[in-house]
């Protein structure tokens, strides 16, 4: 792999689990009104960092940056459109499924392959939604950079608050 000519035309393979998402989309949207999954009180409670013991095993708080959340008062469909807009702006591929899940994949090869992000929209109340963002592939530092320089500014218009669990930079 160190030899450059060997890498010509090489694309790091990516496991793609939702291959048939597109087909089901069309069938279902013809018959039922899609609605994002609802969060109940206990879902909200389980978002608390105090209930998440995985911190015990981590040395580095920075590693928790792989996942973040924001709230929005915009309807789920507007949030989806906004994500699609950002995807095309930064040349990410955009795949959505009927249960308000979105997969974004960067077109550029980063240090550890393409950056891929999953987003999922949940309803808290009919006028409040939570979007969960999770890095599913690629380099963590590149993901952090993309979030702070591109994604967050891009989402500014629709975001109410960002999850305050981001690590404090000392």
């Amino acid at each position: 792999m160190e030899v450059p000519w060997f890498r010509l035309g090489f694309k790091r393979p990516q496991a793609d689990t939702d291959v048939n998402v597109g087909l089901l989309d069309d069938v279902d949207s013809a018959f039922c009104v899609p609605k994002p999954a609802c969060l109940n009180a206990f879902d909200i409670i389980s978002l608390s960092p105090g209930f998440n013991l995985s911190g015990l095993f981590k040395n580095d708080v920075l590693k928790q940056e792989d996942e973040s959340r924001f709230t929005s008062t915009q309807p789920a469909s507007s949030i989806m459109s906004k994500l699609e807009e950002i995807a095309s702006l930064f040349r990410f591929s955009f795949k959505k499924s009927k249960d308000f899940k979105v997969k974004l994949q960067g077109s550029e090869q980063g240090r550890k392959g393409h950056l891929s992000i999953d987003a999922e929209i949940f309803e808290v109340t009919p006028s409040l939604f939570v979007v969960e963002l999770r890095k599913t592939g690629g380099d963590t530092l590149e993901y952090s950079k993309f979030c702070s320089q591109d994604l967050r500014p891009g989402l500014k218009d629709i975001v109410l608050t960002w999850d305050g669990n981001r690590p404090e930079k000392e």
């Binding site: 206990f42 409670i45 608390s48 105090g50 209930f51 998440n52 013991l53 095993f57 109340t125 305050g164």
Partner: protein, 226 residues
Amino acid sequence: MLQCLEGISKLIDCFVQSFDIKVFKHVQGLKDPETIASETVFSVSEVEALYELFKRISSAVIDDGLINKEEFQLALFKTNKKESLFADRVFDLFDTKRNGLLGFEEFACALSVFHPNAPIDDKIEFSFQLYDLKQKGFIGRQEVKQMVVATLAESGMNLSDDVVENIIDKTFEEADTKHDGKIDKEEWRSLVLRHPSLLKNMTLPYLKDITTSFPSFVFHSQVEDT
């Protein structure tokens, strides 16, 4: 031959105890990984790896072989400046001896419930007790509200009281099938079986790889003679 070895080991134990030197505390600390392994879902080597983690956490503030609340917070949040209703509650549930300190056995037995292989009933039981803040045997509306408000505050989300009440109404509508204003163990169980994601915090995948993350270098000469 075995009896001879046992005799010598007992002699060494007495010798060590009579000195009561701190340095021996760690060597002597994990006397029976087999006992703890038999009380939990962990294997003996996993217990030893867990002990490495325990040693690290328990020596952070006071090096006494026990985890106090401050050390627990430090381990969870990497800062002892963060107060958390939930971390307190988790600590209290771990602290079965009720002395404000976690010994290794308490630590291992509690973490055992979070192992991916632990029985789901144990996870359901633990989470129920976690949310039963007043320890009355049921989860009341006030308790749920307190926890929701605390979580929202922690994440910087401030929702109006109306919205919070609305969320709790919907939750109780679904969970409180007996319509008595509280969620008992049975109702909690059926709620969780309908929404398995509610138990996601009850499983720590890290526990499966613990022997690689925290290698221990204890050699067994007497564990398995086969």
